[in-house]
Amino acid sequence: MTENVLKTDNSQTKMLKNDKDFVVPGDEIVKSMEYLPGRNCFREGDSLISKRLGLVNINNRVISVIPLSGVYLPKVGDMVIGEVKDVQSNGWIINMHAPYMAFLPLSGIKEFVDTSKTSLSKIFGVGDFLYAKISGASGDSLQVSMQDNMCRKFRSGQIVKIISVKVPRVIGKQGSMINLIKDKTGCRINVGQNGFIWIEGEKEELAKNAIKLVEQESHTDGLTDKISALLENKGGKK
């Protein structure tokens, strides 16, 4: 453990962990009232302690932990990829590998449907993969909608699954990583925040390998260079 003393205005604060250090639940990050607990941290007495396995992130006075594992926790506005598990009289049950099943109500789709004439399974059937938006997430009630312009049903291509906490790395800053992969492979790719990723194109295999590499090496430096190298060596566009 590296110990590092940070001078602040009026006190000496003992940092027990530094930015980007690996922590497990229960690891003390700092003993000080000068800092505030952010995501995946909690305070006990003077100490700020990690709640999750991950990497320390120090942002001014807020300390948080970026998790390396864990199930997807839905947030309103997230784009996700889910699989239709059941068709009911007023909507669809969607599995997106979150702690709860999601519901897509009839009112959540763009088309008007006369339920007396059309069976809902004609619109989306069991086993269909949908690109949908989380429209409600409170308590155990989870709702998705297909009204956003990006929403659709996938008719071909393949689904790759990764750990959801790695999704931000697969997307990259302002989409830099995913755009790199799209450019070099020529594939169409939709990333669900829940870790389901849809790929279609000539070089699906290459795109999949690149995404899997990001997932495995998400915590390492120089990731963009590694991915560029992989994509160029394996016959992607230069």
Partner: protein
């Protein structure tokens, strides 16, 4: 100093091996070896709770299932739950529960499955060590890791991690689970006959050993995630 069956010092545990991430299908997993005892733990969840009547409206339910594989023991043990395994499942749950934040995702369940594939004393404590690493590996929010070991007394000597014939010779056997940072005991059982004042020595040796196990648990998680 009494010489132990396998030549260990009184406060010396058997060789310990911990590996995180051993089951690809699980959300988190770990294998822990204490000498010839081997436990594998897998964590699934938090996920939707079925049957629904077992849901808790305001919290995540922790469900533990401890099981001994038929070939783990000298005399083949029958597969399926027994009174013993049902009790151990319950105390395992209570050993882990204090370490978890269970109020964040209501109406769900975290399943912890422990398979003891080789049994040579200390199966419940080895199982708890594996489960704790598996929970952290799964990204479950926790206050601390849980480390677990048994201590006891043979003659006048306090000893940790009893194994082999020592279990028969001991005047008491105290398995504990412990959260080393917050110094809280989460599992406490005892069989035997011992004066109260000696009990403290037994407890002290067990908690000291838990701190060593804790270090190895952290190392195993580091090896899994930061290569």
């Amino acid at each position: 100093m009494v010489k132990r069956e396998d030549g260990r010092k009184p406060d010396e545990m058997r060789p310990i091996e911990i590996k995180a991430g051993v089951i690809k299908n699980a959300d988190g997993s770990a294998m822990v070896k204490f000498g010839k005892t081997i436990a594998i733990a897998a964590v699934y969840g938090p996920r939707a709770m079925h049957p629904r009547r077992m849901q808790e409206p305001d919290r995540t339910v922790l469900r533990c299932r401890y099981s001994m594989v038929p070939f783990s023991t000298t005399d083949r043990c029958r597969p399926g739950p027994s009174r013993r395994s049902t009790e151990i499942s319950k105390v395992t749950r209570e050993a882990l529960e204090p370490a978890l934040f269970l109020d964040e995702i209501p109406k769900t369940v975290i399943d912890v499955f422990i398979d003891v594939i080789a049994a040579d004393a200390g199966t419940r404590t080895t199982g708890i060590n594996a489960a704790s690493v598996a929970l952290a590996d799964a990204g479950i929010p926790m206050r601390d890791l849980v480390a677990s070991v048994a201590a006891g007394k043979i003659g006048k000597e306090v000893m940790v991690d009893l194994a082999g014939k020592e279990e028969e010779e001991t005047s008491c056997d105290v398995p504990i689970a412990y959260m080393p940072r917050s110094k809280q005991v989460t599992l406490l059982q005892m069989d035997g006959d011992i004066p109260v004042k000696d009990f403290n020595d037994v407890l002290k040796m067990a908690t000291k050993s838990c701190e060593q196990i804790y270090k190895k648990q952290k190392e195993a998680l580091g090896e899994r995630w930061i290569k």
